[in-house]
């Protein structure tokens, strides 16, 4: 079923483009079909017995190069999120762009391309597959962030997102390659736990990849900028799914890096910093969408922290929060998009009072917001409860640090949630200018209700979460608890809600200050501009157009590469010569070659070349290769004749040699010559087998009907190669004819 679903997404991209040319709405509806099929399939998998869907498409088997997919429990959970929310977002987009929107092929097809890439990423079972789809999501995200590409600021934001996530992708690739080298397999499930220095380096590299994708401090600067995308994209990519890819990666890689201390310390440091800084950011901004974006950084920080801790309970809580966050954060983004469309602003200074004008939307947002704050009776409450229990259950200093961080982060979460709900829906001046759009309200309502239903019918989310957790960590046999009773975690939870909402109330009463600029984003842009300045000047230096310099550069590099051969050559096994005629011929050949190199007249050079050829012929005779000798003689004669004929057009003497270059050219050519000599010496003294002379002789006589083995090989055993050679010569002949004709017409 996996190839069918992926093919459906590919076909859907084409179909959405075609339909999008008629109208954006048609394109969006066509694009929603593949995610709908995928969602139905994934829900069906839930009910059937636990069996993993698997698919492998081989490319190069020996190198482990294959597209390999396997849908395990965690992947199934992610599939339901990616495709399920995908369907709702496509439906929502039809309302967002409105019935009057013109044709648009780009948006539906890129959004579907993202959806398919994300599925490939969560299904990936080999490091190559993982990396390829990881990059696909970065690229599709770039296209979607840059959707309104006519605005400068949008292009800059899109570029920032691409450069940061792209750089993280390279870091991830390096980490994966280290892992592959250590455990000698490219299959994710079979990679052995990393240890030692290599494990540490790989852990840091993979963490950088995860942190860039999941917008963790200090790489978080791209995410607020990505809010330049249309709101459906922000809801789908930059809150519910793509930014979860980094967290997903940490969940999958957690068992591999369980022994690397740096995984826990660096990962948790990153996560805690993001959790707190993101929370503060959400309290500072006045654009409702940016408040949510900073809140996403904060929530992702909590997720990263939980997966960095990696204890069974933390893993369980992480997955529960992953599910809950996707539901409530997507809802809130969808709500903000609707408010933006209907009131024409997202600035909280101009918003407020919407509970009266948009009561349904207000209810939907309140339910989602309470889930985000971790209040009962909602899915977010159970997830936050599990997270608190996980950090409170740690021991020693870890317990203190992680508990304080998570409690502080949760207080901030409650505070910015309160601020969001009060400033947008509470008392205020906003006026609604456009009529309600059901296509926008309904998807948000569905997701919000899912958060409530997940609490009431706790068995359904519990099955998803606990199965996925057990798969990652066999000891994670927990379940979601709807009403924990008066335990420590619950009391702490209530305290957080109380303190947080008071803090949020206090802050939302303050006068709204101007939006602070993001210095981090400025630095990131400056760095990217630096790259864009350095790269062309480097290119101009390396690729300046002089053929001789190219050849010299390549020769120098190739010569350096032959240095290792020095130790491979058995010097004592070398003879001075095979027969006495060899040194004599060697002197003739090399002497003629040197003479031809430095002689000033073209005729002299042609004659020297002929002398080299004759010397080679003689050498072939002494080497037991009469066919080669005959061919060489014939070829050399023709070349000398052709040279002399061609010289009629050319001047008698060569143009003067540029002396500034001469010394460098001689040195590099000498190095190249020595390098080739070393390589041939090493290769010829270490044969890997004996030539199959008897076989070739027998085959030649029986099948080819000839005794001259070289001839039979060329005309019979390898006849097709010879045919190719004839074709080459014929092509050359045609080319020469054409070139000669040009000359004649020019002259005429």
């Amino acid at each position: 079923m996996i190839p069918v679903l992926l093919a459906a997404h590919l076909a859907g991209i084409v179909g959405a483009s075609v339909a999008g040319y008629r109208s954006a709405r048609a394109g969006l509806l066509v694009a929603s079909i593949p995610p709908a099929i995928t969602t139905i399939w994934a829900l069906g998998q839930l009910n059937s017995a636990p069996q993993q869907a698997f698919y492998e498409l081989h490319w190069v088997q020996g190198l482990g190069l294959s597209l390999r997919f396997s849908v395990d429990e965690l992947a199934l959970l992610m599939t339901i999120l990616v495709s399920g929310i995908g369907v709702l977002v496509f439906f929502y987009s039809t309302g967002y762009f409105g019935s009057t929107a013109g044709p648009d092929a780009r948006f539906p097809s890129s959004l579907l391309a993202f959806s398919g890439s994300m599925l490939g990423l969560v299904w990936a079972d080999s490091v190559w597959t993982l990396f390829i789809f990881w990059e696909f999501t970065s690229i599709t995200s770039f296209l979607l962030v840059g959707y309104k590409h006519v605005e400068d600021s949008v292009r800059i934001a899109a570029r920032r997102a691409l450069m940061i996530t792209g750089a993280g992708g390279l870091s991830l690739l390096a980490g994966l390659l280290l892992l592959v080298r250590e455990s000698n397999t490219t299959i994710l499930d079979q990679i052995s736990p990393a240890t030692g220095t290599v494990g540490t380096v790989a852990a840091v590299l993979v963490l950088i990849g995860a942190a860039t994708k999941s917008a963790q401090v200090p790489f978080h600067v791209w995410l607020p900028g990505a809010m330049a995308a249309p709101t459906p994209v922000s809801a789908y990519l930059h809150s519910a799914t793509m930014v979860k890819a980094g967290v997903f990666l940490m969940a999958v890689m957690g068992p591999i890096f369980a022994n690397a201390a740096v995984w826990k310390t660096v990962g948790a440091a990153c996560g805690i910093a993001s959790m707190l800084w993101g929370g503060i950011g959400a309290l500072r901004h006045r654009d409702a969408k940016l408040m949510l974006a900073w809140g996403t950084v904060s929530q992702l920080g909590l997720l990263v922290t939980l997966f960095a801790i990696g204890s069974p309970k933390a893993v369980f809580a992480g997955i529960a929060l992953l599910l809950a966050h996707a539901l409530f954060k997507a809802t809130l983004f969808l709500v903000v998009g609707e408010i933006d469309i209907r009131t024409g602003t997202r600035d909280i200074a101009e918003l407020g009072g919407l509970w009266r004008a948009m009561p349904l939307t207000c209810a939907v947002a309140t339910a989602a917001g309470l889930s985000m704050a971790g209040a009962p009776p909602l899915l977010g409450f159970m997830a936050k409860e599990a997270a608190l229990e996980a950090v409170l259950g740690l021991a020693g200093a870890e317990q203190l640090v992680f508990s304080c961080a998570v409690i502080l982060g949760s207080v901030l979460t409650v505070a910015y949630t309160t601020r969001f709900l009060i400033t947008v829906f509470g008392p205020g001046p906003a006026t609604v200018v456009s009529p309600p759009r059901l296509a926008m309200t309904a998807p948000a309502a569905v997701l919000s209700i899912a958060g409530i239903a997940g609490y009431i019918f706790v068995a359904a989310p519990n099955r998803l979460v606990s199965n996925a957790a057990i798969e990652l960590n066999a000891a994670a046999t927990y379940s979601l608890i709807a009403w924990p009773g008066l335990k420590t975690a619950f009391v702490v939870s209530l305290a957080i809600l109380l303190v947080g909402s008071l803090l949020g109330l206090a802050i939302s009463r303050q006068r709204v200050r101007p939006t602070p600029g993001s210095q981090g984003a400025d630095w990131a842009d400056a760095a990217i501009d630096g790259i864009l300045t350095v790269a062309p000047s480097l290119t101009a230096r390396i690729q300046h157009g002089s053929l001789p310099v190219y050849v010299v550069t390549m020769t120098a590099m190739a010569a350096l590469a032959t240095i290792p051969f020095l130790s491979e050559i058995p010097y004592l096994q070398l003879d001075l010569w095979n027969s006495l005629i060899e040194p004599f011929l060697a002197i003739v050949i090399v002497g003629s070659a040197i003479a031809g190199t430095f002689v000033g007249s073209r005729l002299g050079a042609a004659l020297a070349l002929g002398a080299v050829g004759l010397g080679m012929s003689a050498l072939f005779v002494s080497y037991g290769a009469p066919d080669l000798a005959l061919t060489q003689l014939l070829v050399e004669t023709i070349i000398v004749v052709a040279f002399v004929l061609g010289l009629g057009r050319l001047r008698q003497s060569f143009p003067p040699v540029d002396t500034t270059w001469k010394a460098a050219r001689i040195v590099i050519a000498g190095a190249g010559g020595i390098g080739v000599t070393l390589a041939i010496a090493a290769a010829s003294t270490s044969p890997t087998g004996t030539p199959p002379l008897a076989d070739v002789s027998e085959q030649a006589v029986e099948e080819g009907g000839g005794k001259n083995l070289v001839n039979v090989i060329l005309t019979d055993l390898r006849a097709l190669d010879t045919l190719g050679e004839v074709v080459v010569l014929a092509t050359v002949a045609i080319g020469i004819l054409a070139l000669a004709r040009i000359n004649q017409t020019e002259v005429a």
């Binding site: 062309p536 290119t539 101009a540 230096r541 690729q543 157009g545 053929l547 001789p548 050849v551 020769t555 096994q573 001075l576 095979n578 060899e582 060697a586 050949i589 090399v590 070659a593 040197i594 190199t597 073209r602 070349l609 080299v612 080679m616 072939f620 080497y623 037991g624 290769a625 080669l628 061919t631 023709i638 070349i639 052709a642 040279f643 061609g646 057009r649 060569f654 143009p655 050219r665 001689i666 050519a669 010559g673 020595i674 080739v676 000599t677 041939i680 044969p687 002379l693 030649a700 006589v701 005794k707 001259n708 083995l709 090989i713 060329l714 050679e725 080459v728 050359v732 000359n743 020019e746």
Partner: protein
């Protein structure tokens, strides 16, 4: 393995490389020919020591015929290449009055765009 042959390969490669870094196309052609000789000789050397000609049933110990077949192909192809380059040199002579290889125009444009900051 014979040091004399190895040195021959080295000498041919060195002179060949020196010549193909020249500006004059006819020198480059000479260089290609010399490099072709070096390649053919390398193939033969890599195939084993010299023995009797590889004619079935004439000798116990024969030279390895496979590298010889490859070398023959190499000779013919480098022959074709040399003739083609000669024709190019003739054309260059007719068009520009000499057979010099000029710097690549497109690459030069990239370099200039950097210094003048106008294009790109």
């Amino acid at each position: 393995m014979s040091i004399a042959l190895l040195l021959t390969v080295g000498g041919l490669t060195t002179t060949g490389l020196y010549l193909i870094t020249a500006r004059s196309l006819s020198r480059i052609i000479l260089g290609f020919s010399l490099l072709g000789h070096a390649a053919v000789l390398s193939l033969l050397i890599a195939g084993g020591s010299p023995r009797a000609a590889p004619i079935a049933g004439t000798a116990e110990q024969m030279s390895n015929p496979v590298p010889q077949a490859l070398a023959l192909t190499a000779i013919v192809i480098s022959f074709g290449l040399t003739l083609f380059l000669l024709a190019l040199a003739g054309r260059q002579q007719t068009l520009s009055g000499d057979d010099l290889v000029e710097d690549d125009l497109e690459d030069g444009r990239i370099a200039n765009a950097q210094s003048s900051e106008e294009d790109l």
